[in-house]
Amino acid sequence: MEFIVASSVGALTAAGIYLILRLRAFASILGLALLSYAVNVFLFASGRLAVDMPPILSKYGNGGYTDPLPQALVLTAIVISFGMTAVLVMVALGAYLESDDDRIDMDGDDMVGEGDAT
């Protein structure tokens, strides 16, 4: 199980970084989504992997429990990354509609006369 979790985190991260480096808005959004999946799985695993254990102490069980804190962290991270993705999509859409282009890098326009500051 460790191998599957570790390699899936690795694959998701690699795919995410590759997509961000494409420098296109849509690819970058997908890349950041993949990265956030990777980090969520990673955070989940930081409390050690355990099968069939509740994240709470139970007086009926035989004492086994898994660390609940990473699960709380993952929940927070999921909520935040969900909100951030929504914002990112809106900003990317706005940038696309303004400039008719979804490239992320900006063309060199630190030139006299070009670029409007206000």
């Binding site: 808005a25 400039s99 630190d110």
Partner: protein, 511 residues
């Protein structure tokens, strides 16, 4: 338990939704509420500043004992940063209201309050995961402020800014995961305690976490090689927002100061010397990049953005020494450079609004050329580090603190040559904008041409916030003696790891 500690977080958190939902159609009401809220924040910050005189105080949310619950910690450093934020916010807000920037898009005031909540929370928190949450709050508000009032260049610069910060947030979470997996806690005081006893031979993962955290904070502080986002963002953001962002890079600097001094700091065997080794060269290169950018910029806003970059390099060079004397110098320089950057952006905005373009080409002088020239001159000598304003004292303190033989040659060369280049860059920009423009004769309007549109003169309400900020710089200069004494005590408290740990974990009584 002192409940005032959470007040600067709760106040903007409650005010922002009210402004956003209830007052969104009435800009006057929103302005009033926002100014009122920021003044109240300022008052609270002064109160906290007074209260922070003694030992660090912890605020346990929901009364859960540390390290199980989230804690906020008020000590001298965090109180000072909160006060700094509130003063800057008040200046920027008054300027934005006076110039009408806040009415050029929607929800400026709601986003502004959320931004303050995030910044203040990041300064007060005593828990690294909570620091991440407050980072996200200040970032999500800054995304909205960055693209306020829209425009092609601004939207594209905003998109870059959002993406690089989201990648940074992901890295932050990876760092936290590693840290939790190795130490089993995310409370700063608890981490500090556990890592002191951490065996050096098992420390590989801890070192990874320390480096990842440093990369994330360096991204926020715009340290080389992660500085690429800053010129584009600051140059394309609305000027009052760029002025407020002057404190955002300092959040990164503060986080490095807090985490890499208290948790991974000097004397921790597991991560000994790690931060110094990497921060120092990065800071030197950042100074160089900033200085070269100032010389090379052909527009006013990028010029200022690069000068901010250079000042971050100077600040981080001082922080990277991790000695009490250098940290005192860094804190003094931090206060100075925040206001210097804000003043520059606000003055530049007044000029650019009347020139219609921020290119450094010579064109006919605007109204009130003399006033703008004087303000720009004052701001530029502050930023470049010339006497009589506080930049000179700040750089002097930094140079004096960094006299260890192995780094002295690098630091002194970088800071002194960087300052010279910044002076040249600002002198060139100032003479193009204000001096040569006087000799330009405006073209005679033909009989058929429409009358040229004359922008209104800058009123008292616009100039006053800038004057106040320059006044703060002057005060910081005049009161440099008492201020550095205060900062000395702040630094002593920051380096007193045991005092911090016992105050937060409540073990003070047992010793």
């Amino acid at each position: 338990m002192n409940h005032w500690i959470i007040a600067p977080v709760v106040l903007p958190a409650l005010l922002a939704p009210v402004i956003g939902f209830v007052m969104r159609h009435d800009i006057v009401l929103a302005r009033t509420a926002s100014i009122f809220g920021t003044v109240a924040l300022f008052a609270i910050a002064i109160g906290l500043f007074v209260m922070s005189a003694g030992d660090p105080q912890a605020y346990y949310l929901g009364d859960w004992p540390a390290p199980f619950g989230i804690v906020l910690v008020l000590d001298r450093l965090s109180a000072m940063m909160v006060l700094l934020t509130s003063v800057l916010a008040l200046i920027v807000l008054l300027y934005a209201v006076a110039t009408g920037w806040d009415a050029r898009g929607r929800h400026f005031h709601a986003l502004f309050q959320f931004q303050l909540m995030g910044i203040v929370g990041a300064f007060l928190t005593g828990d690294i995961f909570n620091l991440f949450v407050f980072f996200e709050i200040l970032l999500i508000a800054s995304y909205g402020l960055m693209i306020h009032s829209g425009g092609r260049e601004r939207m594209r610069a905003g998109l870059q800014y959002v993406i690089i910060n989201l990648a940074g947030s992901t890295l932050f979470l990876f760092a936290l995961g590693v840290l939790y997996a190795t130490t089993g806690t995310l409370n700063i005081a608890d981490l500090a305690q556990k890592l002191q006893a951490y065996p050096a031979e098992d420390a590989a993962l801890v070192r990874v976490a320390a480096m990842l955290l440093m990369i994330v904070f360096a991204l926020k502080a715009a340290l080389f090689p992660l500085q690429f986002w800053l010129p584009g963002t600051y140059a394309n953001a609305p000027a009052p927002v760029a002025a407020l962002f002057a404190i955002m890079t300092k959040v990164g600097a503060y986080a490095i100061l807090r985490v890499h001094t208290v948790v991974f700091g000097p004397g921790v065997e597991a991560t000994d010397g790690l931060a110094q080794t990497w921060l120092f060269p990065a800071a030197i290169v950042t100074i160089a990049v900033g200085a070269i950018g100032v010389l090379g910029a052909r527009r006013l806003m990028p010029l200022i953005a690069f000068s901010v970059l250079g000042s971050m390099g100077t600040l981080m060079a001082a922080i990277s020494a991790f000695t009490p004397q250098a940290t005192t110098a860094a804190l003094y320089y931090l206060i100075h450079s925040t206001f210097a950057a804000a003043v520059l952006f606000l003055v530049a905005d007044m000029v650019v609004a009347r020139r219609k373009s921020d290119s450094l080409a010579v064109q006919a002088a605007t109204q009130q050329n003399g006033l703008f020239a004087a303000l720009f001159f004052a701001a530029a000598i502050a930023m470049a580090g010339m006497p009589p304003l506080s930049g000179f004292l700040g750089k002097l303190l930094v140079l004096d603190a960094l006299r260890a033989p192995e780094i002295m040659a690098w630091v002194w060369t970088a800071i002194l040559i960087g300052s010279l280049m910044t002076i040249v860059g600002f002198a060139r920009a100032g003479s193009q904008l204000f001096w040569k423009s006087v000799s330009v004769v405006p073209e005679e309007a033909g009989p058929d041409d429409p009358l040229p549109e004359v922008p209104p003169a800058a009123g008292v309400a616009e100039v006053a916030p800038v004057m106040v900020a320059i006044g703060v710089l002057a005060t910081v200069t005049v009161l440099a003696g008492p201020l550095t004494q205060y900062l000395d005590q702040t630094t002593a408290q920051l380096f007193d790891r045991d005092g911090y740990v016992s105050a937060v974990l409540g073990t003070a009584g047992e010793e």
